[in-house]
Symmetry: C2
Subunit: 349 residues, 2 copies
DNA sequence: TAACCTTGCACTATCGATTGTGCAAAGCAA
DNA sequence: TTGCTTTGCACAATCGATAGTGCAAGGTTA
């Protein structure tokens, strides 16, 4: 015997003398409404267990056109935010009796589409689309399949979305930086005038642009003005960021006294440069990071961080999934709901 | 119309005037061997595209009892090692034309089993079992289903396994620590005699025990002896580790001059304590961490780290999957293959 | 022209479950 | 005993694809 042949309800029907439909009902829990005698059910169940029977979920899924699966599509795993997101997703999905499966797509739009199609073709019952490069393309696929789905972290225009409140996060972070009192400094807003910078990210990215807006708002309010030069957002690449940091520190007149770094990746670049500065310069510097990493707490200087409320995002996403109606055919005039979740400020101990 | 009805090959058959089997062949690539005219095929394909046809993969899977899915079961996502593992898995699976799906199980043995069963019932074509609490239980399920699978990171006795060479990693790390020259110290092996400690982890854990063995070996070779007190392995909890570190430093006679911390989680605990020590003590301390985190490079003291070769693990796992035969019925006397992959040493710049 | 081969496709069973329906036997009231 | 309701289950259709087989039309060879 080469391939193992699995037991089916037909085998069990033979063994128990019942019909396949009775076996099916006995095993999937519908036996009560199908008026199967309890003793029959128990007999079938015991034989099923003894035979090591497992329901073929593809067959069930085919018949019911449901699968019991909840899918999550993300760009990647090895990033703290997305890893936590997957983690929370898993917990919440299981809590709802679903089997959570996660697929990452490398920020490749085509891969995203293909993956979405695959998951849809497997009849996942719901789809979470996190940080997609083109959420609306996926929404169209889902709509054609009548599949409930939510965008997470990056909003789309064709499906409800749950996103972090980047603006509020940036406001809180910037305020905290203005309020910080670095070692030995009696910090007044005056000190940061023109000397607080936003570093990293891409201005046209949805999240970054909202953060920059929040940053600008606070800086303008507390310094009276926010110059264009105070925003340096030309990417996440650590080396680039390191170079840019270096440039900022070149002119002693305008050298940063506060530095808000956008994302931990960019932060790594910032760090590798800050390490080369004299300790006293670094110690009087106020550093903020829009992102969270536990080890950042143990650097040689304090850093204010913003940590996204991942559990909150996922909870709201599940909420939306059940509360929002499926978009009607084509005449959906109302823009889908967007929920913003507040991130948390993590201040140094 | 409430639910969207998806187009099937039967619909396409109607539209094109061909039979369902012809449509099927035209769309799944077998048309050549089924001698379908190319013009017919093209016509069918064009209509299919225009109708937005998607193969129902549950139906195909049911018929073929294959799914095109490759499954990965891991304990969790929010851990650098597992996150990287998932990442590499994804890349390698796609390279092989499979759709990679990942499920985490919270280190819960029952969840592991249930998840494995679910994936099997969906006819995944192969299963990667990473860091399972009970790999053999999963192997038994897979064997019953005739499913190819590999253990990763934690070996099992019923299926081929790919694991990190913890012993070699620990040896390399410990050697590196003996060879390190902390600031201002002309470091001789003598200095570390009885003053190098292994901190964190659980001695009965497979990985930890191998690491401890490697550590002991090097310490014995270079110091002539390794005392039991030099191994402090009672868990990963950061607070516990912090307390234990504190105790170690209490006696100035035996206070650590070198500290090998097992895992980044434990390392967080170590850090929170080291932060409270006078800088000069910390600076003359040699610190090693059996695990990798990019931010550890930027702490106020250098740390030697060990980084697992995640790509290597996954590559070898795929290799094993195709090279190793399925275990024969029950009379498999030969123990399945175990492949060890060397981790890399990451030394401070 | 007969015998045979090739081409091009249709027919039909099948994968393993779920579900609407039908029907005999048992139970019960009149 | 008759007629009606329950109980307990079997039958058969169905989900959407794949794959074995058969067969007519058109070509080729003798």
């Amino acid at each position: 015997m080469d391939t193992v042949k699995k037991t089916t309800i037909y085998d069990l029907a033979q063994l128990t003398g019942a019909s396949p439909s009775t076996v099916s009902a006995a095993l999937n829990g519908t036996w009560r409404q199908r008026r199967i005698k309890e003793s029959t059910v128990r007999q079938i169940q015991s034989i099923a267990a003894q035979q090591g029977y497992r329901t073929n979920l593809q067959a069930r899924g085919l018949r019911q056109s449901r699968s019991g699966l909840a899918g999550l599509i993300m760009p990647m795993y090895d990033n703290r935010f997305f890893a936590s997101l997957a983690q929370s997703f898993e917990v919440e999905a299981r809590r709802r009796g679903l089997c959570p499966i996660t697929v990452s797509t490398h920020r490749d739009p085509e891969e995203e589409q293909r993956t979405a199609e695959t998951l849809i073709s497997y009849a996942v019952d719901s789809l979470f689309v996190a940080g997609a490069t083109d959420p609306d393309a996926i929404s169209r696929l889902c709509r054609d399949a009548g599949l409930r789905h939510v965008n997470v972290d990056l909003p789309g225009s064709l499906a409800p979305s749950v996103i972090s409140d980047n603006h509020a996060g940036a406001v809180a972070l910037t305020e905290a930086m203005f309020d910080a009192r670095p070692k030995g400094e009696d910090h007044a807003d005056e000190r940061l005038k023109g000397r607080i910078y936003f570093l990293g990210g891409r201005e046209k990215d949805f999240a970054t642009s909202e953060r920059i807006a929040g940053f600008r708002e606070v800086v303008t309010r507390r310094s009276g003005h926010c110059a264009e030069e105070q925003i340096v957002a030309t990417g996440y690449n650590p080396e680039t960021v390191a170079r840019q940091a270096q440039v900022l520190f070149q002119n002693p007149e305008t050298a940063p006294r506060a530095l808000l770094v956008n994302s931990t990746i960019a932060f790594e670049g910032g760090l590798s440069f800050l390490g080369s500065l004299p300790p006293e310069t670094v110690e009087s510097l106020v550093v903020g990071c829009y992102d969270y990493d536990p080890f950042v707490r143990y650097l040689r200087f304090p850093v204010v961080m913003v940590r996204q409320d991942v559990e909150g995002l996922i909870r709201e996403a599940f909420q939306l999934l059940t509360s929002e109606p499926l978009p009607t055919d084509s005449t959906d005039s109302a823009a889908p709901k967007i929920i913003k979740v507040n991130p948390a400020l993590v201040t140094p101990a």
